[in-house]
């Protein structure tokens, strides 16, 4: 009798503990099912493109050379750690998906700084977050890493379900990611491809594959250069670089340089420089390019710019002054000014850099993770080169 009563008590106790647990799980399951039903694939960005377009890049990941730095800068593998960051991660205490569905989850979205691009990026992220009814909070440190570190501390204290972060600096991201990882909060990095070590502490990375985009752009550019200079043994080109201190500085100049070293050997780099002290000032770029035209004259056949607005406008101002319309110019895109230049037949091509899609893909990644989908560590944004043929389809501009 005594034994029976004890067993009964035990069962009652177990039930008391288990029922809410099972009940909770049931609610979570329902939430998961509801979350999985949400379809974000039809969402559009302001330029009437699909907000979440899958990447079209199907290049194979090469093997990492023993010491990439020993290879020459013209060798694509020299840039291995920057270009292919994320494919050889050693996951460190990465949290497992709770499989409880994305609906109602709280995410904190920390960007790099204020810029019209960022405004569009947050808008895109908000669209996906709204679709999943997530609690979405965006923070901007205004380009100050000290403030970003502080925001990360505050975000950790809020114990969100996930932190989404554009690191202000590729290498500074390592310690930031490590800190969030130690606080046992899931972290997803996006847009700025961080140092490979940072990805050890994060679920993954989504964003534009700057190197890949520029390899694509370089090939289109090289084809056009060949077309305009048939049979030329040597075609001189110049690179207007991005501001130093991040992967765009390298990807947007050494990406094409190393690509063309294999693809079009006759294309020779005459010069690569970042306009100082104001990298994105049209007047400064104009001065630099004017001087290049003086220095290299007719040897200069192409210019690749890391920005299609102020830099590109400065370049064309210099070209017009010199009466040079034979120079093929390509740039990273896609600002309104850049698209206008493409439409006017001035810029030959620009890369499609969706700001809204960048933010949206990162939140989609978070949602997929909450939904328990199996995810690659790295997802690139769709790659596309906008030329005069299809530029009309990308209006109105996102920012």
């Amino acid at each position: 009798m005594k034994k029976l009563a004890f067993i009964a008590l035990a069962i009652a106790l177990a039930a008391f503990v288990a029922v809410p647990l099972i009940g909770q799980t049931a609610a979570q399951k329902a939430n998961l099912a509801a979350s999985l039903k949400i379809d974000t694939s039809k969402l559009l960005s302001a330029d009437n493109q699909l907000l979440l377009a899958p990447s079209t890049d199907n290049r194979k990941v090469p093997k990492r050379p023993a010491d990439p730095n020993k290879l020459p800068e013209t060798d694509p593998l020299h840039w291995y750690d920057m270009e292919w960051a994320g494919w050889n991660v050693k996951p460190t205490n990465i949290p497992k998906s709770p499989m409880t569905g994305a609906i109602g989850k709280k995410v904190i979205f920390i960007v790099h700084g204020d810029h019209p691009w960022t405004t569009a990026c947050i808008l895109g992220a908000q669209k996906v977050a709204d679709a999943y009814q997530m609690e979405f909070k965006a923070l901007s440190p205004n380009w100050d890493k000290v403030v970003q570190d502080q925001m990360i501390d505050q975000a950790i204290a809020e114990k969100p379900d996930m932190i989404l972060l554009i690191p202000l600096d590729a290498k500074g991201a390592v310690q930031q990611a490590r800190k969030i990882n130690q606080a046992k909060i899931p972290l997803h990095l996006f847009n700025m491809l961080p140092d490979a070590a940072a990805l050890n502490y994060s679920l993954g990375w989504t964003g534009p594959d700057d190197f890949g985009q520029f390899r694509l752009l370089a090939r289109a550019w090289a084809d056009e250069l060949r077309k305009r200079n048939p049979g030329a043994k040597s075609i001189g080109v110049a690179y207007v670089q991005h501001a130093p201190g991040g992967s765009p500085f390298f990807a947007r100049s050494f990406g094409p340089i190393s690509e063309l070293a294999g693809y079009a050997k006759e294309i020779k780099t005459l010069v690569a420089a970042s306009p100082t002290p104001a990298t994105f000032d049209a007047n400064t770029t104009m001065q630099l390019v004017s001087d290049w035209i003086t220095k290299y004259g007719d040897d200069l056949k192409g210019i690749c710019a890391s920005d299609d607005s102020a830099q590109a406008l400065g370049i064309f101002e210099a070209l017009e002054k010199a009466g040079r319309n034979d120079i093929v110019v390509v740039a990273a895109g896609n600002s309104k000014q850049g698209m206008d230049l493409v439409k006017d037949g001035k810029l030959f091509g620009i890369t499609y850099q969706t700001a809204e899609g960048d933010g949206a893909l990162s939140v989609q990644y978070a949602a997929d993770w909450f939904n328990g989908k199996k995810l690659a560590v790295r997802q690139n944004l769709a790659q596309h080169i906008i030329t005069a043929e299809d530029v009309e389809g990308f209006y109105p501009p996102q920012w």
Partner: protein
């Protein structure tokens, strides 16, 4: 008594020496300014000769070609425009106007917004709003003698905040505000218009401003008042010069040229953005000071400021033609800046003309 306090700062004289009459500034006047200006153009000439020598030795090509020389002046036109106006502030003894960057940015925003009412109203409106910033700066600095650098820095912050609040962190485009295409084309031409397909409008404006500025500074009563205000504000006040008005005018002039440069930058980059004028404050100060204007005020010429801008332009040009990377160019620029200004200050001092 062992004196281990080092050499005396300028103006500090022990006992008896003070009894001596100070004759140092007797021979100043037009001669001093001439020497000063010639000095600046001497340096510019030195750089030109350097470029020519490099060309003849084959180190660089095409330096002396008309196109290259035109490129040099084109490149410094915008900085020159800002510098001419700001040099009045420097001349009045108030260092610099740090609110220039957002003044430039704001001008762009206002002009683009007003383009729908026509080109001329837009230009007038945009410049008018910028002049208000100049009036505010001039009033506070002139009347209450607030520190000009810090005050204008504060105004720069506040204006930046206002721009971004009003336009909710967006940049605006001239052709997306419902203005007629003709007006937009006119706006686009502010920077791009070229006379005889050679001389750009900004360059013409710069030359006009330099001529007018030089005239105002040397031939008008305002110029005299400004000189006295800049070199000896207390004496100026005691002799009945309305230094408040004089200082305010100099800030309004600075805002005026910043507005013009702001319109040109906005026209060039085809966008109204809060970061449009970034960096022009220090660039202009550099040109002004290399041009022989002393931060102490009351000394220098507008022609000298033009020369200062040209020196920067020629230097950049030669360095790029030689093939010096832009990062090393920064270092050379900084070193030459200190050197030129240092030599200038030293020569003025050794002539007994200046202590700044």
């Amino acid at each position: 008594m062992s004196d281990n306090r080092g050499p005396a700062p300028d103006g500090a004289t022990d006992g008896a020496a003070t009894a001596q009459a100070d004759t140092r500034s007797v021979k100043t006047g037009s001669l001093s300014s001439l020497v000063n200006t010639a000095g600046v153009y001497g340096i510019a000439l030195l750089f030109l000769v350097l470029g020519a020598v490099l060309q003849f030795t084959g180190a660089i090509g095409n330096f002396l070609s008309p196109q290259n020389l035109l490129n040099i002046v084109d490149a410094v036109a915008l900085v020159g425009i800002v510098a001419v106006g700001m040099s009045f502030v420097t001349y009045s003894g108030n260092y610099a106007d740090m609110s220039v960057p957002t003044t430039m940015g704001l001008t762009g925003y206002i002009c683009i917004e007003l383009l729908r009412y026509g080109f001329i109203p837009a230009i007038i409106g945009a410049i008018g709003v910028s002049l208000l910033i100049g009036v505010l700066n001039g009033f506070v600095v002139g009347k209450f003698k607030a520190n000009p650098i810090i005050w204008t820095l504060a105004v720069n912050y506040v204006t930046m905040g206002i721009i971004r609040l009003v336009w909710v962190n967006k940049q605006i485009y001239p052709d997306m505000k419902g203005s007629s295409p003709d007006v937009v084309a006119l706006f686009d031409a502010i920077y791009r218009l070229r006379f005889f397909k050679l001389i750009g409008l900004p360059l013409v404006i710069l030359i006009l401003l330099v001529v007018i500025g030089q005239f105002v500074l040397t031939k008008t009563s305002f110029g005299v008042k400004l000189k006295l205000t800049g070199s000896a504000p207390k004496a100026a006040k005691l002799s009945g010069i309305p230094i408040e008005t004089v200082i305010m005018t100099s800030f309004v002039l600075a805002a005026f040229t910043a507005a013009i440069a702001g319109l040109a930058v906005t026209s060039l980059s085809r966008v109204g953005a809060w970061y449009n004028g970034a960096g022009y404050d220090f660039k202009a100060v550099t040109a002004i000071v290399i041009g022989g204007m002393t931060l102490a005020g009351g000394r220098g010429t507008i022609l000298g400021v033009l020369g200062g801008s040209l020196i920067i332009g020629i230097l950049n040009n030669i360095m790029t033609l030689i093939g010096i990377g832009t990062f090393s160019q920064d270092m050379v620029r900084g070193a030459i800046f200190i050197l030129v200004v240092g030599i200038n200050a030293k020569s003025l001092r050794s002539l007994g003309r200046d202590d700044a």
